[in-house]
Amino acid sequence: MQKFEKLTGLAAPLDRANVDTDAIIPKQYLKSIKRTGFGPSLFDDWRYLDPGEPGMDHSKRRINPDFVLNQPRYRGAQVLLARDNFGCGSSREHAPWALMDYGFRVIIAPSYADIFYNNSFKNGLLPIVLERDAVDLLFRETEATPGYRLTVDLAAQTVATPSGRVFKFEIDAFRRHCLLNGLDDIGLTLQHVDAIKTYEARRRQEAPWLFAK
């Protein structure tokens, strides 16, 4: 997994609540058996005017000039500002894959759907929760200031604006540790092989039907 320590990056505002995973990456792209290449299809239905299919040359498609991420000023954005309940809907990990592949490393929103939130960490994408008022302020400043860049420091758990305002955020110690060090969960769990075997042996006694073939 990609590490995350500190980043100063251009912010882009996506001013909608309840952005669902079908909007983040429409299902036709879920047919891919790879983890990469989803970036050009991120927010596909909003970003393009013509229907998208896997395997297309997306650079030849008709761009929707009204969609916020298509504005030249947000090109290269790494921090996505979002509203409540971002990532609701399906469990598709293609959603964080697409956001990462596009270039985002951080999302800032007042709340997330649980599965999306969880999936993000497993891929080195940092979903930050800030109070609604703080998110409102970031939206306003981003929209008012071309080239608005935020500095996100995971070790310090802070988001800093260009004018030097600093917002502190909360994050689980375990998730923070894994992200800072780029650790793979499976490797960590396999350090507890004995505990898993002991559990299985006990359960086999208590509830043998769970192990019947």
Binding site: D22, T189, K213
Partner: protein
């Protein structure tokens, strides 16, 4: 000390190890696998040279991409075909039992799990699919996971998780005629919102839930995720236990008796404490219809499309305006005046035998309205399809002008050839009405099977309570 909730009991029974930071290593009894969210996980295992921890805990089927017509011809779309073939190959290489596309037991993963008895009370059940919450209907802890977690389960039979909070949604009293499990859950989501259960495991309780069949309970738990809760669950009772008797993967003989004894404990203690509680009165419920692009945007069938101008919260108001624009609806339009183009009866929410019986009862002896371009029934599994055919339900649907298809996810998410065209309006028994969910530009209204069937006959929404009299 107060007693334990059902969720507490399920959680505690599966803790392998408590980590210092408050997370737990939780043991997973059953892992269901399908073609869409697993290929990258198998690839990860191969790259790391990791074997499966416990092969027999896994059961796989292809459901999202499979065609619902002419299966003998295979899958026309090469990208879909590759994904299904990749699942076949992975199951073959790793030794996992798979109900392939042409197996009589194939179907939507959340329909076949319980049908086979592969899902049992007291289990932890996961699948790389958010509607895994469905299996909670049997007093199991069941939730959807992402692909990294699929890989984690395959390699370790465990997950690293933080316990959620306890929430109870009680539906008290008796359900009025014509009001179904689907209406209950849509009304709950309308009430608490799509983030109402975020961070919580929801237990559905109350007399109206107890009176539901197990199929109805699955419909309710299926949509727990639409209320933001990763897991939904219902206590075990006699109906739950009887449902599993004789199922292929269910225990037999002495083992059955032993299991039943343990299953009877799968309920919240009388003095258990919940962090959040919501109570609905069943007698107040009416058939529900969604009008927008989020499952919380629902109204009773005798209501009208709401007016964003009446909404005081700015973010919500914008959301409503965007939804109305996408749905092509005007505020104040009576729901019954909304004309439809297509009807979809299927999905892991409503494709079980009981759902098909309810729909067939409404269409029997009638004809699909002229303005309906396509009305289709997609059974949840090959076994559901066979049962329906034994009961003659296929005939009823076909005579009425419905198409009778082969099992799979189909137009619930339109990964196969079944989809809405831009602007087409559909009454659907599925669970998500997001923009583009059933096809780019398609407009979805979520309803119960009986309501979808009645809408097919009328060509627009009707109050099924009147139809049933």
């Amino acid at each position: 000390m107060s007693g334990k909730t059902l969720y507490d009991k399920l959680w505690d029974a599966h803790v392998v190890r408590r980590n210092d930071d408050g997370t737990c290593l939780l043991y997973i009894d059953r892992h269901l696998v399908h073609e869409v969210t697993s290929p990258q996980a198998f690839e990860g295992l191969r790259l790391a040279g990791r074997p499966l921890w416990r092969v027999d805990a896994n059961l796989a089927t292809a459901d999202h991409n499979v065609p619902t017509t002419d299966r003998a011809k295979g899958i026309a779309d090469p990208v879909s075909r590759l994904q299904v073939e990749t699942l076949d190959q992975n199951c073959h290489d790793f030794g996992i039992t798979e109900f392939g596309m042409n197996d009589a037991r194939q179907g939507i993963v959340h329909v076949i799990g319980p049908e086979q008895g592969a899902t049992l009370p007291g289990m932890t059940v996961v699948c790389g699919d958010s509607h895994t919450s469905t299996h909670g209907a049997f007093g199991a802890l069941a939730f959807g996971i992402g692909t990294s977690e699929v890989e984690h389960v395959l390699a370790t039979q465990c997950l690293i998780l933080k316990k959620a909070k306890n929430m109870r949604v009680r539906v008290d009293g008796a359900l009025p005629a014509g009001v179904t499990a689907k209406d209950i859950v849509l009304a709950i989501i309308g009430r608490i919102g799509t983030a109402g259960g975020t961070g919580h495991a929801i237990e559905f309780a109350g007399t109206a839930i107890e009176q539901l069949s197990v199929e109805g309970r699955m419909t309710v738990c299926n949509m727990a995720i639409e209320a933001g809760a990763r897991a939904g669950m219902i206590a075990v009772d006699n109906k739950t236990i009887e449902y599993f008797r004789g199922r292929p993967y269910a225990p037999k003989g002495e083992m059955w008796d032993m299991a039943v004894k343990a299953w009877r404990e799968m309920k919240s203690d009388a003095d258990a404490k919940f962090d959040k509680e919501v109570v609905l009165n069943a007698a107040d419920l009416k058939p529900q219809v969604s009008w927008g692009t989020s499952p919380e945007m629902v109204v009773p069938v005798d209501g009208a499309v709401p007016d964003p101008e009446q909404e005081t919260d700015a973010v919500r108001r914008t959301g409503m305006q965007q939804a109305l624009r996408y749905m092509g609806l005007k505020p104040g339009t009576p729901i019954r005046d909304i004309a439809l183009d297509k009807i979809f009866i299927g999905s892991c929410t409503n494709s079980r035998i009981e759902d098909l019986r309810a729909a067939a009862k409404v269409v029997q002896g009638k004809r699909v309205a002229k303005n309906i371009k396509l009305a289709m029934v997609v059974p949840g599994s090959g076994l559901v399809k066979a049962q329906a055919e034994k009961e003659g339900l296929d005939k009823i649907f076909l005579d009425a002008g419905f198409e009778w298809r082969a099992p799979g996810c189909s137009m619930c998410l339109a990964m196969n050839a079944d989809r809405l065209g831009p602007g087409e309006r559909c009454a659907s028994t599925s669970n998500r009405n997001f923009e583009g969910r059933q096809g780019a530009g398609g407009r979805t209204h979520l309803v119960s099977p009986a309501m979808a069937a009645a809408a097919a006959i009328a060509g627009h929404f009707v109050d099924v309570r009147g139809e049933l009299e």
